[in-house]
């Protein structure tokens, strides 16, 4: 079915609509449910996972380290809906707790990274000149490394733990995405109202916080939600290499790459369920991010 008319962007906000004084960060969700079914689906998935992560203790049927050597490798039965692993631990329970840790690491890293990316990006763009050149050379140097090397070296250095992984992934994420933020901030900087603010005597901090930051926020949000999936997958890769979260704490990546691959012949479900959970999480966050970006971008252009 080909489109006979110019592809009018149906997501441009209609200025003729009656002004409903809803702030943009609430309005987005209303628009999401109304116009972006995939984004809504993504949002629902994310909510369910967050709920599971937070309420793990209440909804899990067992403890995540509770072994039962007589019940190893059960595929699926009444008392173990998703089966058991090589030590007889309930898979559903471990998936639920896995949500908590994977999301903890994911959110933590992305939060840290977003803060870092914003700080670096805005700093670099706003001050320009020497500062920009110096900072960008540092960013360039970092980005010239194969990411696996950096992560592996640093993780080997500091040792695997939930906190260390979160910080390392966060810093990596932050540095990489500082470029994007910098790009947006540069664009904003060119605007004349910034110059007039300077002329009126506003301090650098005030300008940065009051004018540049709010306009970069939508970009950051979108980058963050899509970045979340990358972080979760990277944590999975690190666990695959043995540099992830230490046992017995379950993470989806660890479950997939260690128990899953070790017992692939005997118990393929040990790999399948964590992979499904991983895929769903990545899918959910990306759809959510897409929806947000579709809705927020024109606002950026229009604003």
């Amino acid at each position: 079915m080909s489109v006979a008319t110019p592809p009018i962007d149906a997501t441009l906000p209609r200025r003729t609509a009656p002004a409903r004084s809803r702030p943009w960060y609430l309005d987005v969700w209303v628009q999401m449910v109304r116009r972006k079914p995939l984004g809504t689906a993504g949002g629902v998935i994310v909510l369910v996972m967050l709920a599971a992560a937070v309420g793990a203790e209440w909804i899990s049927p067992y403890g995540f380290a509770q072994t039962s050597l007589r019940e190893r490798f059960i595929a699926m039965n009444g008392s173990h809906w998703l089966g058991t692993d090589q030590l007889g631990r309930d898979l559903l329970t471990r998936l639920i707790y896995g949500a908590r840790i994977s999301l903890y690491v994911g959110f933590g890293a992305v939060l840290l990274g977003s803060l870092l990316a914003t700080a670096i990006g805005i700093l670099s763009a706003y001050f320009g000149g020497r500062v920009d050149m110096l900072v960008q050379r540092g960013v360039d140097a970092w980005m010239a490394f194969p990411p696996l090397l950096l992560l592996m070296s640093i993780m080997s250095l500091v040792g695997p733990s939930v906190w260390n992984i979160t910080v390392v992934l966060g810093v990596a994420f932050g540095i990489q995405n500082s470029r994007v933020v910098r790009g947006v901030a540069l664009g904003i900087k060119e605007n004349t109202y910034i110059e007039s603010a300077r002329a009126m005597g506003s301090s650098h901090t005030a300008i940065a916080v009051r004018h540049i930051l709010p306009n970069t926020l939508p970009t950051i949000i979108v980058v963050a939600t899509t970045g979340l999936s990358t972080v979760i997958l990277t944590e999975a890769s690190l666990s695959f290499l043995g540099l992830g979260v230490p046992p017995p704490y379950p993470t989806w990546g660890g479950m997939l790459s260690l128990a899953g691959l070790d017992h692939m012949y005997q118990a393929p479900w040990l790999a399948i369920w964590p992979a499904v959970a991983l895929s769903l999480a990545v899918f959910g966050f990306n759809m959510l991010g897409d929806g947000l970006r579709d809705l927020l971008d024109p606002r950026l252009k229009g604003g």
Binding site: T67, L69, L87, G159, P160, P247, P248, D262, Y265
Partner: protein, 535 residues
């Protein structure tokens, strides 16, 4: 008359059957064996202690003496000493002077710069001195005083004191291979593939890094008629799953340098490829929980006994090892039959601290030791060891939890683990497998004598140390066995180390591969000498 007729009819039948049986057993010459394995980190046998490196080059080098292989061996842990480059040898009455008579006319491989010249006593002297100077294993030569080339075919080694393990160490392909000096002079060391020139059954023909290593039969090998194989190719395959996959797909004949697959893979192979030959072997491996016995709380033997009684070895064995593992695995491993004193033969009141399971008594012991409320301990380990170990750590933590000891698992990166924890530099408790050794001395003296890096539990027991030195110096094997038995009885209730079940190693290969017998020594070359293809 009838008897003669019967014989006339019977005899040809018997003869025909006998010949057929004999034919089925006669090894055929020919064929190239393909092995899927990771790349060796280097080729110089003295500059690295990686078993991969040693196995690779064991195809190309010989030693003074060696272990039996193939039809020569009585069982996989048969560490008798057979002649290799040395035809015969004598040991002086005081056990300090060894004189070796070399075979005559043995030649190095025909590759420059050695070009197939004869091996002499000077080569032996050079090689053993290089070992003593450069190898990470050179502590095994500590008692060696002087090595002399008495004449072209006689080598005399003088020791500082009698040293029972000496011949075993000389026979171990990890250490004492005989190398040609010219190769080192040309290539600076023996890492370059062109420098790999020896007297072994195979010649290294080419080495495509990251792809494959090609060996060909040595036409001048001094064991006549051997090897049967035309050649061997090591197909470098870094990933474990891929190695088993190529075995299944018929693209490799061995999925590992020694044909090993894990117990689970072995069982799976038996189901998916019933024609594949999969044989379990008890190996001289050993693994344990080790503790700082020089500090509280583990300096108290009652606490250590409690730890040992908390470990449900039988359940681990049945659940994780299909019941095929060996529960009584220390201090001498099950497979070292010549030296092992079974726990069943030790006074049960003491043996229970070696293999028993009794959480109730464990709790009582803790209370007696003043730890009624339990305590917390880390368990340092490297999480990358093969599969049963990954489960072992978590099970150990759980078992200890049941008697009130809160164990926190502390995984460490490999470099850190083997350079600190595995050398005894850790706090409180750690856990892991140990290097398999071929000499019982390493499991006893190495493990329990004070100040040695392999004494991971920091044991310092004066009475024990006396016994350890005694067995080391006792040249009469029967008397030595008595001392070793006494040591095992002594150690039974001390729980310096808490041993965990040792699993059998499965060797897998297609049915056409014959004569490939597992041996617990590290070499591969001599195993392949007797290997042949039936097709």
């Amino acid at each position: 008359m009838h008897r003669r007729l019967a014989l006339a009819l019977f005899l040809p039948l018997v003869l025909a059957l006998a010949t057929q049986a004999a034919e089925a057993q006669t090894p055929k010459r020919g064929g190239v064996l393909r092995i899927a394995e990771r790349e060796a980190p280097g080729l110089d046998p003295h500059l690295t202690i990686s078993f991969l490196s040693h196995s690779y080059v064991s195809l190309t080098y010989s030693q003074l003496v060696r272990f039996p292989n193939g039809p020569e061996q009585k069982h996989p842990a048969d560490f008798s000493i057979l002649p290799d480059l040395a035809e015969k040898w004598t040991v002086s009455k005081d056990g300090k002077v060894y004189t070796f008579a070399l075979r005559k006319g043995v030649r190095f491989h025909n590759k420059p710069p050695v070009n197939g010249r004869e091996v002499t006593a000077e080569d032996v002297k050079y090689s053993l001195e290089r070992f003593a100077a450069k190898s990470g294993f050179n502590t095994r030569f500590e008692p060696v005083g002087a090595i002399e080339a008495v004449d072209r075919h006689t080598v005399r080694i003088t020791l500082k004191e009698p040293y029972a393990p000496f011949l075993n160490h000389l026979a171990n392909p990890s250490f004492c291979v005989i190398l040609p000096r010219e190769a080192e002079e040309k290539f600076k060391d023996f890492n370059h593939p062109d420098a790999v020139i020896g007297t072994g059954p195979f010649v290294m023909k080419s080495y495509e890094k990251g792809v494959k290593v090609v060996f060909e039969r040595n036409p001048d090998y001094f064991m006549k008629g051997l090897p049967y194989l035309d050649g061997v190719v090591i197909e470098i395959t870094p990933d474990a799953a891929a190695r088993v996959a190529v075995l299944r797909a018929g693209k490799a004949d061995l999925p590992h340098i020694w044909g090993w697959v894990s117990p689970e893979e072995g069982k799976a192979l038996q189901k998916t490829n019933p024609e594949m030959v999969v044989t379990p072997h008890q190996v001289i491996g050993q693994g344990f929980i080790y503790m700082r016995t020089d500090q509280p709380p583990f300096n108290d033997v009652r606490v250590r006994r409690a730890v040992s009684l908390a470990i449900d070895r039988k359940a681990w064995n049945e659940a994780l090892l299909f019941g095929e593992g060996c529960v009584d695995s220390g201090p001498v491993p099950c497979a070292l039959k010549e030296w092992k004193l079974d726990a069943a033969k030790i006074d049960p009141a003491r043996a229970k601290y070696l293999t028993g399971y009794d959480p109730a008594e464990a709790k009582k012991l803790l209370a007696e030791a003043g730890q009624a409320k339990g305590f917390t301990t880390p368990i340092f380990h490297w999480p990358g060891y093969v599969v049963p170990w990954r489960s072992y750590y978590e099970l150990a933590a759980e078992n200890l939890g049941k008697i009130g000891i809160t164990a926190e698992l502390k995984p460490e990166e490999y470099g850190k683990y083997i350079s600190t924890t595995a050398l005894g530099k850790y706090e409180k408790m750690a856990m892991g497998p140990s290097t398999p050794f071929t000499e019982v001395d390493d499991f006893l003296y190495g493990r329990f004598y004070p100040e040695l890096p392999t004494n991971q539990s920091r044991v310092a027991d004066a009475e024990l140390s006396k016994m350890l030195l005694a067995q080391r110096r006792e040249m009469d094997p029967k008397k030595r066995k008595q001392i070793v038995d006494d040591i095992q009885r002594y150690l039974a209730d001390k729980a310096y180390y808490v041993y965990v079940p040792q699993w059998p190693q499965y060797v897998a290969h297609p049915p056409a591969v014959k004569g490939f017998l597992h041996h617990d020594g590290y070499g591969l070359g001599m195993r392949l000498v007797y290997t042949w293809f039936d097709r």
